[in-house]
Amino acid sequence: MVEEDEEDGDAPEAPIGLRKIIHVDMDAFFASVEQRDNPELRGKPVAVGGSGGRGVVAAASYEARKFGVRSAMPGVTARRLCPDLIFVRHRFDAYKEASRQIRAVFRHHTELVEPLSLDEAYLDVTEDKLGIGSATRIAELIRQEIRAKTQLTASAGVSYNKFLAKLASDQNKPDGLCVIRPGEGAQFVQSLPVRRFHGVGPKGAEKMAKLGIETGADLAAKDVAFLRQHFGSFAEYLYRAARGIDLRPVRANRIRKSVGGERTFGEDISSGLLLRETLDNIVDIVWESIERAEAKGRTITLKLKYTDFRIASRAHSLPHNVPGKTEFARVAHGLLEEMLPLPLPIRLMGLTLSNLEREGAEPERGRDEAQLSLL
């Protein structure tokens, strides 16, 4: 699974009054853009991404999802699940353009927009610009405006914090809206399988299942000490999440520190060949997130977790931003080779790009505060 590091690096959470948060998530974004622009693809199973050799599915249309095709799945696996799957190449320019239109719709209602990627964002509409007041009404308007401007559908979740809003947007996908009202959060979370919690991957869910935790209610029944014993630093988050609590503010100018991803394996890995293949796979997945996040960075870090849970990592910084996937893969492999031979087999491998500069961001921003404007 891919995790994007969302740390802010600044002040800790402050208590916040009742807020109105919307999470908007485009439905099968890349695939929908392709189907919109090429009528021949409509109604058919479509995957954006490489079909050949080690290509990875970046996005799958809903028709393809019926066959079990998922993003980050190797192209060959997807093809096996759905022999009629049509593979199309990325057109990031088209996605960025659609993303630009969508963000313009958001800004029509609020400046407090925290984009998570091209196709997903949190909005704080506690004080919306147009004075509509009802977050549900705003979410409906946003979905309509997005459809009118881009001919694409979006799902939205409305609630009083980010965690719940994100869960809600996932609830009635595609083209759906779900509202979790104040007071309903804890109850909503109770019935959910833990896998739906942001941050709980397949391995994490497996581990919880062994501890008898299947749903939010099971999780809520455990105390912090128990969770800390089994999940370490993840415990606080799980404890709050199980109660529908999330105090993180929507950060309009959040600066992302890194983009990365990691995979936990079903079986421990030690052979050099297998390690290199695994790394290739992670390179594909992580590069995909990097492009999606429009991130540019200089430092690449490879992280390994041994079977005794010790973590080893090694980083390399380039004098310039990593120019492309080839260079990204080359540096990643160089890092792996430096760590070979491994003292123990590993159970997890992760790759991160950091030292980020946002694409299109103006590093000179802020300096111009005293600069007066002509226009």
């Binding site: 320019d93 120019p323 111009d368 600069q371 404007s373």
Partner: protein, 375 residues
């Protein structure tokens, strides 16, 4: 296709077109150049990024078999660069490969079919006029530094060209980033009357300027519509640059050009430039402002930095209005002063919060407006 060409010719031509090709491409064929050898003994090389296209003709030593193919622009350019000076380069295609041979070197490069290569459809370009290459180069030099890089105001990401009737028919070029504005005016070329207002994107401007370097004598033919512009340059074989125009409305910039500024400062632009440059040494990221204290026949430049102390320099000037102080971004001021090739520059000022007009003199085709900083 089989053709032989002088290495120097190939290198010069690829040098012109390769920078159009983006280093990072999600669509593979956009990394390639189209090479088209015709029976008449010339090679046509085309590069594109879908918004901008450059086509250059070069004379081949011989064309043994006409044909067309696409091959990686950067690879071929790098190869041509490293081949020995004076060598003859043979380009030959067979079995989806292109063989590049020179002396004892031999490269076999992957290709993509020419039919997949995207060509910009120019459509009808009803306006057509000529401008001397030198004038066009000056127009670009005087204005491009003020082009905005802020993508949210995309309509400022280029040079605005429009015709007007001042005291005579003129063609004007303007660029602004909201803090400063540059305008260049020339007599209206025959054929330009009634042309639509257009915004030429920054990348097209940069590529055009490079091509003009070698076309310094003679005229450039400009054909345009409201959506496309084409520049045809002479030179050996000729180069044609076609670009999409920015689809947006340039703001009515004439309203920010001050007409009633009553304080006139005349000063040697070189001394002022050097003085600003010296005192700005201690300016940091946060404090880029240089303060100008205007007194009778003298300007005192000062920079105060919380971290680095203070700096001051006096520059003699011709000034007789009331004393006052005004701050400017040191970099912006230097950008403009660097444009003035004369012993005197005129700064027309009003007050510390109003736009300042800067020009060589009233006959100068170039005019600049700079907004102050609050200091």
């Amino acid at each position: 296709m089989k053709a032989t060409i002088e290495r120097a010719t190939l290198l010069r031509c690829l040098g012109h077109v390769q920078s159009v090709v983006e280093r990072r491409n999600t669509i593979p064929i956009l990394s390639n150049v189209l090479i088209d050898a015709d029976a008449g003994g010339s090679l046509k090389v085309t590069a594109t990024d879908l918004d901008l296209q450059v086509v250059e003709n070069m004379a081949a030593a011989s064309v043994e078999a006409p044909g067309a193919i696409t091959v990686s622009a950067h690879l071929l350019f790098d190869i041509a660069r490293k081949l020995p000076d004076g060598s003859q380069v043979s380009l030959e295609t067979a079995d989806n490969r292109m063989t590049v041979k020179a002396g004892r070197s031999r490269f076999s490069l992957p290709t993509l079919p020419r039919d997949d290569f995207p060509v910009i459809v120019e459509g009808d370009l009803p306006t057509s006029f000529e401008v001397p290459a030198k004038t066009l180069a000056e127009l670009i030099d005087r204005t491009r530094f003020a082009i905005s890089t802020e993508e949210t105001r995309y309509y400022l990401n280029g040079i605005f060209l429009h015709v007007a009737e001042d005291d005579r028919p003129v063609l004007k070029a303007a660029a602004t980033d909201g803090h400063r504005l540059a305008r260049f005016t020339l007599d209206q070329p025959a054929g330009a009357e009634g042309m639509p207002d257009v915004i030429v994107p920054r990348k097209a401007v940069a590529e055009l300027r490079k091509l003009l370097e070698e076309a310094s004598d003679g005229n450039v033919l400009i054909d345009l519509s409201a959506s496309k512009i084409r520049f045809t340059m002479g030179g050996e074989g000729g180069v044609v640059l076609t670009s999409k125009l920015i689809d947006g409305t340039f703001p009515d910039y004439s309203r920010v050009i001050p007409t009633g500024n009553d304080k006139l400062l005349k000063i040697d632009p070189r001394s002022l430039y050097e003085g600003v440059d010296r005192v700005a040494t201690i300016a940091t990221e946060k404090t880029r402002a240089v303060k100008m204290g205007l007194e009778n026949d003298k300007v005192t430049l000062t920079v105060t930095s919380p971290d680095n102390g203070t700096a001051a320099e006096e520059v003699s000037a011709d000034y007789s209005s009331e004393n006052f102080e005004i701050g400017f971004n040191a970099g912006y001021l230097k950008d403009i002063l660097g444009q003035i090739d004369s012993d005197t520059v005129e700064l027309h000022l009003a007050d510390a919060g109003a736009p300042t007009l800067i020009r060589k003199d009233e006959k100068s085709p170039a005019l600049y407006v700079l907004m102050p900083m609050r200091v």
